[in-house]
């Protein structure tokens, strides 16, 4: 689909920070793209019926392995990233293989993976001598006299971060498209609907699921690395545990996890909603913004289970189809 609108949109997005954007809008844009990348990673497996509540563990591994390596062993993030990805891959396979081998699906899969994300959070808290526990940890700064350090993967310029994360986001969409067009996706969709039937026509269910899980987990882990290096602060609650795991699921669902830009729309929507509520209502009434946010999530799942973009596409499709149906004699 050679759509010129898409390229114009991308070019505008890429050029936006150059047009003298303030620091705060730029920060919001960066965070949106960062979460969009993570939500896209989640949705790659979520859309196939593998609803994981364990992605908080992968995000936490990415963030903490790199920061711990740098702070305690002087390990450059360039070496820390492969290490974090290797750890993520091992954990994802350790959890995924038995799950898929023993056909743990649905509620059970969600709850087993939930245990994983809680284990990650608790281990981070329990290793408080190294990780700083619930107080969180800041990577040892390399920004003292320079504007950035390539070795430490720390940059004070938001512009650099914007282009790094923009590139990752594009890469995430590319991976989504590759998975979407692969035979594996068709097979996995068949599996998510009728597992026994899919197996009966010779599909290796466990291997296909494992592949998708691995891709999804690695993307999430990378997201964790980016989050830690950009924010220069991580704490166990924001990168692991049940809260962030649910946030990923909701982001993807709110936007629509069955369409490519759905998770991105979800990230933009949830982030902007939180910011608008916060600005409109102020800090004085603590909790009002998140209360409305929670309420909207509930309403979303009840009334718009396909998400914003999914619902919008349905409306467009119906509009396009309506005239022809009216013209045809029935």
């Amino acid at each position: 689909m050679a759509n010129p609108m898409r390229w114009i949109g991308l070019a505008l997005l890429a050029a936006a920070p150059l047009a003298g954007m303030g620091n705060y809008p730029l920060h919001l844009l960066i965070m949106t793209l960062l979460w969009a990348f993570v939500y896209t990673g989640w949705a790659i497996m979520g859309r196939l019926g593998l609803v994981s509540l364990g992605h908080g563990a992968f995000l936490g591994i990415g963030a903490y392995v790199v920061v711990m390596g740098w702070n305690h062993y002087g390990l450059s993030p360039w070496l820390g990233i492969p290490l974090a990805l290797a750890v993520t891959a091992v954990i994802a396979l350790l959890i995924g293989y038995p799950c898929f081998r023993f056909k743990i699906v649905g509620h059970y899969f969600a709850l087993v993976t939930l245990a994983l994300s809680e284990v990650a959070r608790l281990i981070i808290v329990a290793l408080r001598d190294q990780t700083g526990g619930s107080l969180g940890v800041t990577p040892v700064t390399a920004l003292a006299d320079t504007s950035g350090s390539l070795v430490a993967l720390q940059f004070s310029s938001k512009l650099i971060w914007f282009y790094i994360i923009f590139a990752f986001w594009l890469g995430g969409l590319w991976i989504w498209t590759r998975v979407d067009r692969s035979m594996a996706r068709l097979a996995l969709e068949a599996i998510s609907q009728e597992e026994e039937a899919a197996a009966s026509v010779g599909m290796n269910i466990a291997r296909l699921k494992l592949g998708v899980t691995l891709i999804s987990a690695l993307m999430t882990s990378l997201g964790g690395v980016l989050y830690a290096q950009y924010q220069l602060y991580v704490n166990p609650e924001t990168v692991s545990g049940i809260g962030i795991s649910l946030q990923m699921v909701f982001g993807a669902i709110a936007g629509g996890m069955f369409v490519r830009l759905g998770p991105t729309v979800g990230a933009a929507f949830t982030l902007l909603l939180a910011e608008v509520l916060r600005l409109a209502l102020g800090h004085d009434i603590h909790g009002l913004d998140t209360t409305l946010y929670g309420l909207m999530l509930v309403l979303f799942i009840i009334f718009m289970p396909k998400g914003i973009l999914g619902a919008a596409q349905e409306v467009w499709a119906r509009r396009r189809a309506a005239p022809t149906r009216a013209a045809a004699p029935s």
Binding site: I123, G287, T291, I302
Partner: protein, 288 residues
């Protein structure tokens, strides 16, 4: 060496007492899952609301503690029924995972609403029960009461399910959701009653926990995940399995926490859970 053993024994007994409350939490969740086939991710948040209710009725309004607790249990029961009627019922026909997630939205909502209404400060009802000393061990009276009341509550639920007409209808519908409406049972009425009962059990658990823990909006996250693990380990919907699993988990937390640190107790409990899922995915007592 003898010194060590006494403390270990203390940890084991405390674990046993903790197991009672965990079993009560698991019972409510299992009841709802067994009958309605929905996992309330926000179950522990109902407990949190119940704890705040006790605090407000007792400490702010100045009601006697027994009355505050009774009204709190009723309030959470109503909340449970409302949760079913307004949140679960519209998605009963949707994908199962949406039912799980919609209660996740309720989790966020209740947590934030509690922050909004009550603030983030830690509250305490200020009722401190003495510790009992027996054979060189210190045992918390609050925990002993919680253990006994939890057991009593479970016996009560068992009698309700086996000796009353509504209880029989609940068990029947949990065995075959499709056939009961044909027999003239109003399925939604049974679902609402079950949800109220599940809520009431959350309220009862709240009354027991409020004696031991400070109240804050995120307290649900302390009990929530462990309750799901217990239910799954016991076999979702299997009440006896949940009962046994609660005591196993409590020992991990108590003894593991005694030997290392409380977080490690939880870590071991969760790792044990993950390992068990691969060995017996259907749960401890689940059939094939």
């Amino acid at each position: 060496m003898e010194f060590f053993d006494v403390f270990l024994l203390e940890a084991v007994i405390n674990g046993l007492l903790l197991g009672g409350v965990l079993a009560l939490l698991a019972l409510g969740l299992n009841l709802i899952f067994g009958v309605i086939d929905v996992v309330w991710i926000c179950y522990a948040e109902l407990v949190m609301i119940g704890m705040y209710a006790v605090y407000y009725f007792h400490n702010v309004f100045g009601w006697p503690l027994w009355l505050a607790m009774l009204v709190a249990i009723l309030a959470v029961a109503v909340l449970g029924a409302a949760l079913h009627q307004f949140v679960i019922r519209p998605v009963l026909a949707a994908e199962p995972i949406n039912q799980l997630l919609v209660t996740g939205g309720v989790l966020f909502f209740l947590q934030a609403a509690a922050t909004l209404a009550f603030g983030v400060e830690f509250r305490n009802i200020g009722v401190s029960l003495p510790a009992m000393q027996a054979g060189g061990m210190y045992l918390s009276l609050a925990r002993l009461i919680a253990f006994l009341v939890a057991l009593g509550g479970m016996v009560g639920v068992y009698l309700f399910l086996t000796r009353t007409f509504v209880g029989t209808a609940i068990r029947a519908i949990s065995q075959d959701r499709a056939i009961m409406p044909l027999m003239g049972v109003n399925a939604n009425r049974i679902f609402v009653i079950t949800s109220a009962l599940g809520g009431g059990l959350a309220g009862l658990a709240a009354c027991l926990l409020v004696l031991q823990y400070d109240i804050h909006p995120a307290i649900g996250l302390t009990f929530g995940p462990i309750t799901f693990m217990i239910c799954v380990l016991g076999g979702l919907g299997n009440m006896l399995g949940g009962f046994i699993a609660a005591f196993i988990f409590a020992q991990f937390i108590s003894v593991g926490g005694y030997i290392l640190h409380i977080e490690w107790g939880y870590v071991f409990a969760f790792l044990f859970f993950i390992a068990m899922m691969f060995w017996r995915p259907q749960g401890l007592l689940g059939g094939k």
